[in-house]
């Protein structure tokens, strides 16, 4: 397995270079270094000289990808791409274009994102698996019929509606929790209840339907019939045999998103004023802060690759027949 993991990590290097290159090109197609300087300095009263000073100080005066004035390796290294991207591979994110330490900001902002994402994922999984198993148990009955209708209805509703509706109903009308906000330590608990609840409810429709399908597929297999014929209760069949075998596709979906929990949820974080990494990225895009955008895209890519490797590893843990090679 170690050889497999090392190989996958090595594969990741060209992928990450490619992602960096694409991000870089896309960003600079839309924003020139002059645009970035203007965004930071403001358009009122700013002179060409100030723009040049700003670019020179931050290394944006160099050519983008190839420096024709230099020879040999320097033609590649004396470019914005190399100067800004090489350090990312040792996780040195550097400073944002407004001068703040990106690594520090990420370390501060990942906790609110995790505080929102982890309970939403875990409780959401518990709720949706329980619901899906229950629906699978009552397959073909009115419960199954109505559950599917409700699930489709829940899928059809926009996530923005859940947020605004949740804030209106629970925060404004019932006044049970704060409408929005965040705080540190245990004081954060009361702010997390509503966004987590909304995250769970928002995921019920699609996840329950998906898990139901997985469970129904398993229920119709021979080993389930054998278990029943041995006289096992339906509860034992479902929770001991069906659930364990259905975990493989569920794990595929869950493990791959685990590392991405760091990256936060843009919409929820914005509406609840949660200072996570999702809003950090969007703020950076709005401010045309390439240093942060580049760092966050890189981090997202690394985490996604880690997620895929973890998924592969988890297969072997759940299903002993699978071997990584």
């Amino acid at each position: 397995m170690s050889a497999y993991i090392i190989r996958r990590m090595l594969y990741a290097i060209p992928i990450l270079i490619g992602i960096n290159l694409i991000t870089f090109v896309l960003f600079f197609v839309v924003n020139s270094p002059d645009d970035m300087a203007l965004m930071q300095l403001g358009s009122k009263h700013t002179t060409e000289l100030q723009i040049e000073d700003w670019k020179r100080e931050r290394g944006y005066h160099l050519p983008l990808l190839y420096n024709a004035e230099q020879s040999g390796l320097a033609a590649v290294t004396e470019t914005i791409f190399y100067q800004k991207s090489a350090k990312l591979f040792v996780f040195d994110f550097g400073s944002s274009d407004s001068g703040r330490d990106i690594g520090y900001d990420i370390s501060q902002r990942m906790w609110p994102s995790l505080a929102l994402a982890i309970p939403t994922l875990l409780v959401g999984l518990l709720v949706t698996i329980t619901l899906a198993l229950t629906i699978a148990f009552f397959r073909g009955t009115y419960i199954d019929y109505w559950a599917v209708i409700i699930c489709v209805a829940l899928i059809s509703i926009s996530s923005l509606f859940y947020i605004i509706g949740g804030q209106f109903l629970i925060g404004k009308l019932l006044k049970i929790v704060p409408i929005s906000g965040f705080d540190t330590g245990l004081h954060a608990l009361k702010f997390m209840i509503l966004p987590v609840l909304i995250g769970i409810v928002g995921g019920i429709g699609s996840n329950t339907r998906w898990y139901r399908t997985i469970f129904l597929e398993e229920i119709n297999k021979d080993y389930v019939r054998t278990a029943r014929s041995k006289g096992l209760s339906e509860q034992m069949v479902l929770f001991k045999h069906v659930l364990r075998n259905a975990l493989i596709p569920i794990l595929t979906g869950v493990v791959v998103v685990l590392p991405l929990l760091f990256m936060g949820s843009l919409l929820t974080e914005n509406f609840f004023g949660i200072p996570g990494l999702g809003s950090y990225t969007i703020d950076a895009i709005n401010r045309q802060d390439f240093a942060i955008v580049r760092a966050m895209v890189f981090l997202g890519s690394v985490l996604y690759i880690i997620g895929l490797v973890l998924t592969d590893i988890s297969y072997t843990l759940v299903d002993p027949r699978i071997r990584l090679s």
Partner: protein, 719 residues
Amino acid sequence: MTVRKISLALCCTGFFAFLVACSDQGLNNPYRDNDSASSIIYSSFSERPKELDPVKSYNAGEYEFIAQIYEPPLQYHFLKRPYQLVPLAATRMPEKQFFDATGALLPEDVDPKQVAYTEYTVTIQSGIRYQPHPAFSKDAAGEFHYHQLTPADLQNINKLADFESVASRILTAEDYVYQIKRLAHPNLHSPLAGLLSNYIRGFKDYRSDVLTQLDRQETWLDLRQIAMSGVEVLDQQRYQIRVEGVYPQFIYWLSMPFFAPIPWEADRFYSQQGMAERNISFDWYPVGTGPYMLTENNPNLRMVLSKNPNFHGELYPTEGEPGDAERGLLQDAGKPLPFVDRIEFSLEKESIPYWNKFLQGYYDTSGISSDSFDQSVELNSRGEFGLSDEMIERDIKMSSAVATSLYYLGFNMLDPVIGGDSERARLLRRAISIAVDYDEFISIFRNGRGEPAQGPIPPGIFGFEEGQAGINPYVYDWQKGSLKRKSIQQAKQILTDAGYANGIDQESGKPLILYFDTVSRGADSKALLNWMVKQFAKLDIQLVIRTTDGNRFMDKLDKGTFQIYQLGWNADYPDPENFFFLLYGPNSMALSKGQNYSNYQNPNYDRLFDKMKAMENSPERLRIIREMNAIVRADAPWVWSFYPKQYSLNHAWYQNVKPNLMANNTFKYRRVDAAKRAQMRKEWNDAVLWPVYALFLLLLLSIVPAIISYRKRELARGL
């Protein structure tokens, strides 16, 4: 199973009941309970402040913080209108003297053309002290504790509060001069550097002097050692600034944080290696003399300003404009400021949660967004805006003011069709000015929150005239004491006179097609863009919308490759020069990268501008302003769109509120009745728990048939 679920429901119910019992401020209180009765203002910010260093900060959101911390020499009077400058850290208004090229003193009423430079002498109050800060801390031998820090010293330092020792010192005139030198520092990128290099003597040279010094040394550069010819410290309390020629508007800049004092000790302290990596800088920890100091800087969550224990003291104004006393704005006259101990700003990115929290009493004041307009404001039978019943019930007060801002639809005067000085193009622009009905725009898109603009100068600025004297006669008529937009038939007639009858170019026989460049796009802007197309269609002119992103849009303005665009301008200071310069020929974007985006050129206007700019407010200046207004109204390089009107709502416990659109340091005047706020919050925020119980009950009831069905299945016989 059932018993377990019922137990769970009971536990949850008990948990909620426990929470209700524990919290006398309501479950939805976003603040910590022990703060409820304190003298605190609760406000918000929607995005993290980019810069808190007064050398760089140039944004209303950032000024909300630093204007409470830093004290420039001057400030705007809180109550008087029109806006009036008064001393803040200065003892009196700066003394002004004119000199010729030989350095000889000139009389006050000299012809501005003879003046080589103006000398401003600023005298600051004695005894003002800085807020406590580690940069000032010294040991017994008089050596600074924290000016020679090594990496080892900084090992356990992550924030300013980690430095154990703090101290203060007296403010001196040199601190103001130090900051002016910082404005010229090439690595600090002050947005004002370009403008000031045209005015302050020696400012431009200072940049190269600093660069030369920076090449020689990599450590901190003591700007006190590098002289700037245009600024000079006279003594502990006085300093002079020499400004090229005559520039009366200069004193307005002296009320902005750009000209606040910076102690060299703090600059030395922050410039040490390892500080920037820890975000320990002017951007994160301002050092001022004002009524408040930043005690919590967590832009991801909360910013807190607390009373500066070293504040020198200031008194609430004893005079205002007529009506202020009746409105209770002079009840605190002569009392020492500030009234509030703390100002807490919470991160709030979206307007809907902000509005709902305002209604729950968790914010003291709120603007009126489009989302909340219908809920908060009602139009009465006389066509005036008033508070809705819901707001009146909550004892919410409303205040409004026309902003010192202008929105306009600009034409590119370099364009061969819509631009230029020909009568044909001028008539075309005038016809469009009538057709694009901004009265309708204000009504539809701004819920009436604006006034149709009549020229470049908004209300509150010298030169703005009310009534018939102030109307744009090319777009409006004055009928029965009010404005009446000219009819579309009149616009069509003007268009025919221009040679575009029925929207057809009589010379080429082709339909007239115009292009509108805008950054507005997406579903929200669709209605607005459709409306714009319809305005031109009234004249049978086809308008093509060219949406683009902000960078490309600015690029088009830069290169002059556009026909029509829309922009706005907020006053830097309340002087007509700050609006008229947007149409000043030498300030053309195409010629000099200035802010005359329409590239408007009119020698007569430029001549009058040069004259008006150097004058103090007087009947003669008003006469020139009228003349300039008449020129630009006739030439119509812009469609004068509207002056935005700002409404704000305030809870009854939030007092001493008067909109002041020029001043940013107004928190010190506010007073809060914390006991009333606590009482109202309690009244408005009783949790409604019965739906939660009902939901649990419903869940339990719905489980019963499922359990019955399950049992039936389990007990059923197999085949």
